[in-house]
């Protein structure tokens, strides 16, 4: 006789242990990434030009820098979740899979950090100089 309730058996106990959470975060970040990219595309198309001066002046304003930072967080989180599923599906050898996922985490974080730093440098540069 099973003493646990059916819900206790279902909760978080799929074969991967944490599938539902990953699935949910992938959906959540897909919505935020899509919204922020619509914002980015519209903003860039509305700029008078895409040269250095126009882009950095625009990115220096808080209303561009903050959404851009959110976009970086959302996008890199989403692409990390997505690529992880691709790795899990196609890399079958256990050790290589683990290695790939470790690399994926490192590269994603490094690229996101670089992007965040670039935005902060542009956004905070005038304040530092003044």
């Amino acid at each position: 006789m099973r003493l646990e309730t059916p819900i206790a058996r279902v909760r978080g106990l799929g074969s991967a242990r944490s599938g539902a959470h990953h699935w949910w975060l992938e959906r959540l970040t897909s919505v935020s990434t899509l919204l922020l990219f619509v914002w980015l595309i519209v903003s860039l198309l509305r700029l008078p030009g895409l040269d250095h001066k126009n882009v950095t002046t625009w990115l220096a304003s808080p209303l561009a820098a903050v959404p851009m930072l959110l976009l970086i967080a959302s996008t890199f989180w989403h692409l990390k979740l997505g690529l992880q599923v691709v790795i899990e599906d196609y890399v079958h050898e256990e050790g290589l899979r683990l290695f790939s996922i470790v690399l994926l985490n490192f590269f994603t974080l490094a690229a996101a950090a670089l992007a965040v730093f670039a935005v902060l440098k542009i956004a905070l540069a005038p304040a530092v100089a003044a």
Binding site: F76, L79, A118
Partner: protein, 109 residues
């Protein structure tokens, strides 16, 4: 089937090539006018434009099939006819959006 595979292919392309181009663009902008010049010289070369068209199409395709997945997540659109129709619409939609995007870039400003 095709659209489902394309969702993965475009997602992987955007996550690798797209993310690299995006980070390069931001890092170049932060590094100064000269580094930015190098980026724009690449981005406006024939290869850069080709990659740009590819990435923008990949973005629209991935976004549209992503929206289609949302509809399917709530349990709708599994009838063969409807499923096929909306799969085809993501293909047509991404081509239309990519065309509008580049037409606007070329002539709109």
């Amino acid at each position: 089937m095709l659209v489902s595979i394309l969702h993965r292919v475009t997602g992987t392309g955007l996550a690798t090539l797209g993310a690299a181009a995006f980070v390069w663009w931001l890092a170049a902008a932060a590094s100064g006018a000269e580094a930015y010049e190098t980026f724009t010289a690449w981005a406006t070369s024939w290869l850069g434009v080709l990659i740009g068209v590819g990435l923008s199409w990949a973005f629209f395709q991935h976004a549209l099939s992503g929206l289609r997945h949302f509809v399917m997540d709530i349990g709708a659109g599994y009838e063969l006819e409807a499923n096929k129709f909306w799969a085809m619409m993501t293909l047509a939609g991404s081509i239309v959006l990519t065309s509008f995007f580049w037409l606007y870039l070329a002539m709109g400003r």
